[in-house]
Symmetry: C2
Subunit: 187 residues, 2 copies
């Protein structure tokens, strides 16, 4: 079937960007309207439940993009270490080198949890699953792979927080450099 030019998909992309820049509470309808170029009525046409629906769509899209960045490089060609470096590169792209934030963090703050219960938990679990898969691919037994995945997610989230606070991408880049070793050797 022919590709339908979907302005909704474009809107979701812009909405995700806005949420990742502002967080849930500060991403007002006015800002989301400006970010998408759509009036409020159009936003409510695509997202009948307002911000709540927009947050869900943004979360779903973010998970899609992360899976593309984390999973697909792992199932490709090349040796394991090279593929893990591609994973790191994919993360760098998704998090804009450390300048963009993670919705797992932003959607656990303020009114977000009440508005979209369990959404951040689902995203975190998707991330953990992806990294546990990567660790298993690297040869670690299931239980150890889970621990490694937890540490990987912790390092990513923490590095993003610290980079944001220091207004420097250095902590994030530094963390990405040790990520392949963490997944390979668990250290």
């Amino acid at each position: 079937m022919p590709a339908i030019k979907s302005s909704r998909a474009e809107a979701v992309e812009a909405i995700m960007r806005e949420f990742r820049n502002s967080g849930y509470d500060a991403a007002s309808l006015a800002r989301l309207s400006a970010a998408t170029g759509l009036g409020k009525s159009s936003l409510y046409h695509y997202f009948p439940n307002g911000k709540e629906d927009m947050a869900k769509a943004a979360a779903a899209r973010a998970v899609e993009l992360v899976v593309e960045a984390v999973f697909e490089p792992l199932t490709g060609a090349g040796n394991l270490k090279a593929r893990l470096q591609k994973t790191a590169a994919g993360l760098s792209k998704f998090y804009n080198g450390g300048k963009a934030s993670c919705l797992v963090d932003l959607f656990t703050i303020g009114e977000a949890e009440a508005a979209t219960p369990g959404l951040a938990k689902a995203m975190a679990e998707a991330l953990l699953r992806a990294f546990a898969g990567a660790a298993e691919e690297a040869g670690h037994p299931k239980k150890q792979a889970k621990d490694i995945a937890e540490r990987a997610v912790i390092e990513i989230e923490g590095a993003l927080v610290l980079s944001r606070a220091l207004r420097s991408t250095r902590p994030f880049q530094h963390m990405l450099a040790r990520l392949p070793a963490l997944l390979l050797t668990g250290a």
Copy 2:
């Protein structure tokens, strides 16, 4: 001099709690008023610039409390490993076992940065200095101590994010268990 019963200090404590529970944007004056038991006018009496001043006071108090939890156990008696475990225990107390958030994270989201520029950066740097001191105390050369401190802060912030998202203190507790080893051996 005799201790002056300061309702301002009590208010700061309650305000800090509210910011750490809600984040900057969702901590409305109504909530801060309810949390402190003070009317809006009283809040403006103590904090003439409103939320901005309250955020600064909350940040200053949080740094005080963390320094108490991180620094003081290190300069006390006992061998190094035991003192580092006290540090971990102090962190657990300050972050309520992983249930409370860190203002370094919350104050880099939404309107907070615009309202209190550099505040989160100053807090992050205070944390980094404290942990670099701990790592030097453990015998690491200055440059390596800085790297270890960066990893410690990353793990703390990341573990808090993940624990919040999963609604489980397990990642935070797990992280605290490996903190002393990280500061001692750098691994």
